[in-house]
Symmetry: C2
Subunit: 355 residues, 2 copies
DNA sequence: TGTGGACGTTAAATCGTTTAGCATGGCCTA
DNA sequence: TAGGCCATGCTAAACGATTTAACGTCCACA
């Protein structure tokens, strides 16, 4: 009271509730509630009067209370293993946009690729009783870790990554086909000795992209050589180290596909450090096609995976499962597309640096 | 019951509530509630028994119900104007991390730089009764738009951007000093004709960075020339267009500072398209130092603004204000730091391309 | 044998909604 | 005029937790 409020004149500082409005208008809370939600059960005149009063007094509904009654929060919990990775930013933005269009609000949890933290985080999210969980599980997550969520009866949808055998809806890209696309491109250029950088068995995308690599080789009749596979998480540093190891081989590959663009960037850095140029001395294909891929020097040839598209699809799956929990499990796998830029060329035997 | 549950054996499908546990253990809900929260008012033995039962039956607290009673949700609403912009991803990650460490959960809303959408979004977030709002307001947001939030008694903290005169806590970078730093660097290299790319009056960062530009010029005794200022939102495209306009001037500048790295990237593209190379034919200084800045060709000289640091600071301010709503307003302005890379050089008169 | 505490537990109120079922009154019809 | 039917709005009971005053018990001590 010590200073005039800048908000609506006369708006009370304390909370305006349904009951407050009811008392003030001489109506019951039931009527107020119905009127505010445009129920046909309340007379037009009453409805207008109530809505006007609500606006005037600055009434803000309490969804928590409503949720308690209706067992519907309109919250979707989003459990991501990482958000600094640019590909997940795109995903997050698309998911948020799609859900907010549908009247849902996003409650965010980040596991930082740590199963224990993920368990804690998902547990906390669950306490808010979201209508659905949308998760990109951390590496090493087991089926039981996710099943625990579902036992509460909440819809669960996996995005990008999946836990095989969990039996939940899934939206992501067709990684096997995607990486095979990259390999096919290299084969077409004449490469026979093709490495794989990044990706590892602890996550589904790692396994699928690796399978795509093998499938690509098989399709071209090229024997698989485990020495050319450099496992690791898809990070810049890992990509860099992997490329160093590839170049140090007795018989280095002339090209490589990558688990994702981030590891491709690391590989590009290492090539540069070794005095080599991708697209002239070595061929490199990334994966995902994030914004940064086109600005690299040379611009990265990569596989576009339609992240925003499958993000929206994942949101859609969640909405559909909320509406009908009994529906059959659905999987959406977007077909990726090769984007030719300038980081590949015909094979050139890698000449070791004098140093 | 048609199939065995993978969760804890015997875990009921329906919801386990405090009351359920109470009935089962022959205790009152009061005792259960106290026991679960390790209250000293309940005997050790009882506490253990209750906690064990809760674990066994898969009890998950209902925070919505608790919040109704306690008027504390442990939710912090995060209202960002954008999340695809990489600098905001870093911010989001830092804020989420800091808040989750403090036991708060993030409810996300994105305004997409649209005041009307922001109003809708913040309104929705408010219905969940967050303990605090953390906002980076959309362009053109007015004081009243934010005041409406505060009138509900919820803590409001601004991050990155601020609405002057709103009287809320703020954490961000000292943009005036930051851009002045960039200008000083160019001046030191010998530049006298320095342009400014991006930034506009609709947001505080735009105004402050512009002020920094003018302050930098003034400190060097260089007259301000409005023809060298290219206003616009800080996007790649805008930066590109701005650089094109600068180059088309009768007397183009030999250098420019930018509103942010994104517009600097656009400017770099335009330079390249014009057959020029930054760091040899033209000098360019970015702002923010996002991950991508160091991989550009040439690597971008820019001003590092410590985004994660002020993100954590913002989270801290929110926590402090929740704890003590009456405390005096606090502002945190991180001092930025110049990062020298390779996009600047001594002045070279811009020679128009023959085309 | 009272008295007084300490201790553990509980009853009951409360938070702000929603909703099923019921009451009221007016109007139409038979 | 009675009966039935609508339209409208109300009553009251949830929803699942937290909180606090009050209530036994039990024990120690004077």
């Amino acid at each position: 009271m010590d200073e005039t409020l800048p908000a609506q004149a006369g708006a009370p500082i304390g909370k305006v509730t349904l009951q407050g409005l009811a008392r003030e208008l001489g109506l019951s809370t039931a009527t107020i509630s119905l009127a505010l939600r445009d129920s046909p059960m309340v007379a037009e005149a009453t409805r207008l009067k109530v809505q006007e009063a609500a606006r005037a007094r600055g009434y803000v509904a309490n969804r928590g209370a409503a949720a308690l009654r209706t067992a519907r929060t309109n919250i979707v919990a989003l459990g991501l293993h990482d958000i600094v990775n640019p590909s997940f930013t795109e995903l997050l933005a698309a998911v948020e946009d799609a859900l907010s269009d549908a009247g849902k609000t996003v409650l965010l949890g980040v596991s930082q690729e740590d199963v224990e933290r993920q368990t804690r985080t998902l547990g906390t999210l669950a306490e808010y009783r979201p209508d659905a969980f949308l998760v990109s599980p951390a590496a090493h997550t087991r089926v039981e870790d996710l099943k625990a969520l579902a036992s509460t009866g909440i819809a669960v949808v996996q995005v990008t990554r999946e836990i095989e055998g969990s039996g939940f809806d899934f939206a992501g890209s067709d990684d096997v086909a995607g990486v095979a696309l990259g390999v096919a491109h290299l084969v077409e250029l004449g490469h026979r000795r093709i490495g794989m950088i990044g990706g590892y068995g602890a996550i589904s995308t790692g396994r699928k992209r690796f399978a795509g690599y093998k499938a690509g080789l098989a399709a071209a009749g090229i024997a698989f050589d485990p020495a050319l596979v450099m496992e690791g998480p898809g990070l810049r540093d890992e990509g860099r180290k992997a490329m160093a190891r590839l170049l140090a081989l007795d018989e280095p590959p002339t090209a490589a596909v990558c688990f994702n663009d981030l590891s491709a960037f690391g590989a590009l850095m290492e090539l540069q450090a070794a005095g080599l140029t991708a697209g002239r001395d070595f061929s490199l294909v990334g994966y995902d096609d994030i914004e940064e891929a086109k600005v690299w020097h040379p611009p990265l040839t990569t596989v576009h995976t339609f992240i925003p598209e499958y993000g929206r699809a994942a949101a859609g799956l969640a909405l559909k499962r909320i509406a009908d929990p009994g529906r059959p499990v659905e999987r959406v796998e977007m077909a990726p597309k090769l984007v030719l830029r300038a980081s590949t060329c015909a094979p050139v035997p890698v000449k070791r640096r004098p140093s």
